[in-house]
Symmetry: C2
Amino acid sequence: MRLIQSHTDYAVRAILFIAASEKEMVSSADLEAELDLPRPFMRRIMQDLQKAGILKSLRGYQGGFQLAKAPAEIFLMDLIELFQGGLDLTECIFRKKVCPNCKTCPIRRRVKKIENYVLRELQGINLAVLMQEK
Amino acid sequence: MRLIQSHTDYAVRAILFIAASEKEMVSSADLEAELDLPRPFMRRIMQDLQKAGILKSLRGYQGGFQLAKAPAEIFLMDLIELFQGGLDLTECIFRKKVCPNCKTCPIRRRVKKIENYVLRELQGINLAVLMQEK
DNA sequence: GACAAATGGTACCTATCTGGTATCATTACT
DNA sequence: AGTAATGATACCAGATAGGTACCATTTGTC
Ligand code: FES
Ligand code: FES
């Protein structure tokens, strides 16, 4: 079970690379070379980041992506939200149905506490922090 | 993403029920009635618990299951280990391959810290604790 | 205007994981 | 012998994650 999934991880790397790049515009081709990923896959991630307002894009010749926000304003949690639909560690085991046991679920409260900690930690991480410690 | 999966959750409920039961031996039929689960499915979980030495079983007429350990000696983490193969929140995103980025992975360290906390919390939970707070 | 270089959008595929079923063999008591 | 229980194991199905394919659109250069 992974806390951080591929899309999120790739997004982080991509953003860090763009942030560190000299270029005005970074293209998918550049990212492919740097991150060693299939370009179509990378592109989809970039598009999602663009839609989310994290990147700005320019089409056509010499086009590409650049940051739309300062690294310090991009939070890991945003990316998790975007690519993983957020975190819900206590998601009830009775999918689709209303849980008949939530009230009596012996572990729910405990897991909720853990989840709170995890969220607090994650919310403290932004991309500027990750840049430094790399 | 669920921290606790169905098998684990059911196992907890089953064990708590057996622990609270007056009967010498609790059968799958009893559990089915109590937990409202398909019996074959429940049975497989019970068998796994038996193999793991958490339950003792008796076959044949009036057979069933009973605890092989005191609730205080059964840890939630054991069940997670048993049914979910443990927890590895930092599992590298590059499956099957050796990760070429682990050294430079910007989020690995952070997630590792979170994982440590989660493990510590989970390791402190045993079934006796869960019985009380229910 | 034609062409090439780039992204936008969307539908689809595939492997793995999770949850659950089915079947038959074995044991134990009456 | 018969019945009530577990042991063992193979199988199936839906959901999720990871990844691909395809075509449309925009932008700059010649
Ligand atoms: S089952 Fe609904 S919360 Fe544990
Ligand atoms: S990729 Fe191997 S740890 Fe982040």
